[in-house]
Symmetry: C2
Subunit: 223 residues, 2 copies
DNA sequence: CGCGATGGTAAGTAAGCACTTACTTTGGGC
DNA sequence: GCCCAAAGTAAGTGCTTACTTACCATCGCG
């Protein structure tokens, strides 16, 4: 196998293991075994374990995975289609986390263990979401569409619903014992709550066509 | 130092270290040193590292820390004072997480590392919150006070705002770069958004006395 | 053919790990 | 004052860890 090929393969295997067990909990031997090579090969491609971990950063940033949430809802932003903005962001994030659950674990471990990866993600991603979404909300407040409230609080509330839901699905309750709904439904209902929560004036009380028999332990399953 | 005293001290030190570095990342030597005793003493009181970790469970459950969120807002529930119910829960949780930030880290590590502690917390705490809060919401929907929507989704949305906010304060953004508000304000605004979001009929558009100059990067500091 | 760059390994090494053993100190009751 | 249990330790044990060294194998190329 060619050098660069092997290097990438080791990195991918490492990402998977680091996301499962964290940096401290993953041994270089495990990584080598999972990649089907000897430990020495790992250290030929990466000077040490730390460098292997840091290489994830560049890989995740450079490879196609880098999502730009602002561009994802760019036209909705231009059209001031609030529902499309928030639901689009929510759905995009939920789908992303479902497709790549490893990444969320990796980030959580990274934050807990205090690695650069978490800090970088925060700076390059989270911060920007707060900025552009906060600005959009401010704009709509100026339009009189939203009530007056610190836009950062609104962003936190909305991101909170989404991230917490993903964290539940990926980490705490993967069997969906508490709540099992499709990402589309989740995005829709979170958006409903938020937009109703911050919209000013008369609101188009939605017909609740998906309003459900609502007892506390209902467990909507998708499909 | 008496046996039980020392045992408790070792346990407390262990909780602190486990919360900082996780189970795998904490060595028994470190625990012993932090407790000011030799490693052998740790193993006199706890058969092995795993048992020491599991002892945290009993300790956290038995000691006064065990909060019953349902009882905390019991009279608000009885009076059907929606605002008091949600704001009380939010404020209680936020204060608890601020006073004992170790616990949230411990839980996150526990969930990632797949320990019993996380599972137990989920079963004994999270599940019950979803149940009683879900039931309350269903009741209020039946009263016609809230719109029709799966109550579990509402619970998830609200818990999401709170937990995500605490997680930001404790883990991702302890310096409050994105949002620095008092727990009281956070609880109030999250409750505003949620109650506006799910209340049916005419709503008492709150006067927004605390509505703030709202630009995207505002950074309200408490005090 | 030869030969050097490249992909790969077996077998280390020193430090660190959870856990043990064999021993010393201490303090309260008779 | 003596005794013994309980509190405490120094110095291991065997295993694992991150990382190294010294060596093979295969291939393209003159």
């Amino acid at each position: 196998m060619a050098g660069d090929e092997r290097k990438l393969q080791i990195l991918r295997v490492a990402v998977s293991l680091f996301s499962q067990r964290g940096f401290r909990g993953t041994t270089t031997k495990e990584i080598a075994q999972a990649a089907g090579v000897s430990e020495a090969m790992v250290f030929r491609h990466f000077a040490n374990k730390e460098e292997l971990y840091n290489a994830i950063l560049d890989h995740k940033a450079c490879s196609g995975d880098a999502v730009d949430p602002e561009r994802m809802v760019a036209d909705a932003l231009k059209k001031k289609d609030d529902r499309a903005v928030f639901e689009g962001l929510a759905f995009g994030a939920l789908e992303h986390h479902e497709r790549d659950p490893e990444f969320q674990r990796l980030l959580m471990y990274s934050a807990l263990e205090g690695h650069e990866l978490a800090e970088m993600f925060f700076e390059k991603f989270v911060r920007r979401v707060y900025e552009f979404l906060g600005n959009y909300i401010s704009e709509r407040q100026h339009d009189g569409a939203f009530i007056k409230i610190d836009s950062a609080i609104v962003v936190r509330a909305f991101i909170g619903m989404i991230i917490h839901h993903s964290l539940n699905n990926n980490l705490w309750d993967p069997r969906r014992r508490l709540l099992g709904i499709s990402n589309k439904n989740a995005a829709k209902h979170f958006t409903d709550i938020l937009l109703n929560g911050i919209s000013s004036g008369r609101r188009p009380k939605q017909a609740s066509k998906s309003g459900r028999r609502s007892n506390g332990s209902s467990n909507t399953r998708k499909q």
